[in-house]
C-alpha cells in the first residue's frame, strides 16, 4: 500500500527528480520511435504541427503508425478511428490495474492521469506503486515526461528525421529492453512465471492467427484468468470455497 508523508508530497523538486529517474528509460525508448513516426508521417503529408497535435491528442505510438499507414492506403476516418480503438483497448486493463493505487484521487486528477496511460508508463508506475513508496504526483511526472518526449520526438522527426542515422547505439532496442526488465520485476513467484509463459505463448499463437493487436488483450485476459483459477484450485483442493 502507499505510504504518504506530507513532507514527501510537497517537495516538488524531489517529486520531479524521482519521476524523471523513473521516466528516462521511457523517454530514451520513445525517441527513435517518435523520430521514425515523424519521418513517416511527414512523408505521408502531415505537417510538423499536425504531427505534434496528433501525438498530443492520441499519445499512442502503435495506433499512430497504423493510422498513417492506413491514410497512405486511402483509408477513411471511421475505419482508422475504429482500428485505433481496438489497438488501444488493452489500456483498459492497465488502467484497471492502476486504479487500485489511485484510490484517493479526485475526478480531475483521475481524468488527467488517464491521459498518460501508455504501455510504458503503466509498467513503470505500476512497478513503483507496488514495490516502493510511490504516489500519484510522481506517477504523473512519469506520464508527462514521457508524453513530452513522445510529442517532441515526433515533431523533430517531422522536420529532420532523414538526417538521423538508423540504429545508432542500438537505440531501437531500448523499449524491448525496458519491457524485459519490467517483466522480470513482475516475476515474483512461480505462478507469475507460469502466467507470463502462458500469456507469451498464447500471444504468439494468436498474433500469428489474427492480424492486428487483439492478441495482446486476448492473451493477457486468458492468462490472468487461468492464473486466478490455478490460485483458487491450489487454495481449495476439495473444490470448496
Amino acid at each position: 500500500m502507499m505510504v504518504e508523508t506530507s513532507h514527501k508530497e510537497e517537495d516538488l523538486p524531489a517529486i520531479v527528480r524521482d519521476g524523471a529517474k523513473a521516466a528516462w528509460p521511457i523517454c530514451l525508448g520513445y525517441f527513435p520511435i517518435g523520430l521514425a513516426f515523424g519521418v513517416i508521417a511527414g512523408k505521408a503529408g502531415l505537417t510538423p504541427l499536425e504531427i505534434g497535435l496528433m501525438s498530443l491528442f492520441v499519445f499512442a505510438g502503435s495506433a499512430q503508425f497504423i493510422a498513417v499507414s492506413m491514410m497512405t492506403g486511402g483509408g477513411g476516418l471511421i475505419p482508422i478511428v475504429m482500428t485505433t480503438f481496438v489497438v488501444n483497448l488493452r489500456h483498459l486493463l492497465m488502467s484497471s490495474s492502476l486504479s487500485i493505487f489511485l484510490r484517493d484521487l479526485g475526478t480531475w486528477r483521475l481524468a488527467l492521469y488517464g491521459y498518460g496511460i501508455t504501455d510504458e508508463s503503466f509498467a513503470v508506475n505500476l512497478t513503483r506503486f507496488r514495490d516502493e513508496e510511490w504516489d500519484w504526483r510522481r506517477a504523473l511526472v512519469v506520464n508527462h515526461l514521457s508524453n513530452a518526449a513522445w510529442v517532441g520526438s515526433t515533431i523533430l522527426g517531422g522536420y529532420a528525421g532523414e538526417f538521423i542515422p538508423h540504429g545508432a547505439f542500438g537505440i531501437d532496442y531500448a523499449l524491448i529492453a525496458m519491457f524485459v526488465c519490467l517483466l522480470v520485476f513482475q516475476l515474483r513467484g512461480v505462478l507469475y512465471w507460469l502466467i507470463a509463459a502462458l500469456a507469451g505463448g498464447l500471444a504468439v499463437l494468436i498474433s500469428i492467427i489474427l492480424p492486428g493487436n487483439l492478441y495482446i488483450v486476448m492473451a493477457s485476459v486468458l492468462a490472468a484468468t487461468i492464473g486466478v483459477m490455478i490460485k483458487r484450485k491450489s487454495k481449495a483442493p476439495e473444490g470448496s470455497l
Partner: protein, 104 residues
Amino acid sequence: MQILLLSFFMGLVTYIPRWLPLALLSKRTLPSWFKTWLDFIPASILSALLLPALITSGEPRHLDIFRPELLVALPTFAIAFKTRSLGLTVVAGMFFFWLAGKFF
C-alpha cells in the same frame, strides 16, 4: 481527410479506455478475485507484448526466431535479474543489440 478531426476522434477513443476504469474502479472496493486477476495482468500484458516482438515478425506475422532481438534478450534478461535496475538493463540491452548488429 482532415487530420485534426481524425486526431481528435482517435484521441477520444484512445482516452476513454484509459480513463473509464480509473473513474469507475478507483472508488470501489474490488472483490478479491478481481484484485488477484488485476495483479496478474501486468505480467501477462508485458509478456504478451514482448514474446511476439521477439520471435515473430512480418506482415502477415510468422515465427521468426533466429533474430538478434531474441538473442540479445537473453543477456538482457540476465542483467535485469542481476541488477534489478531499469536504467542499467536498458543501456545493457542497447549495447548488446548494437554489438549484435556488428556481427549479424
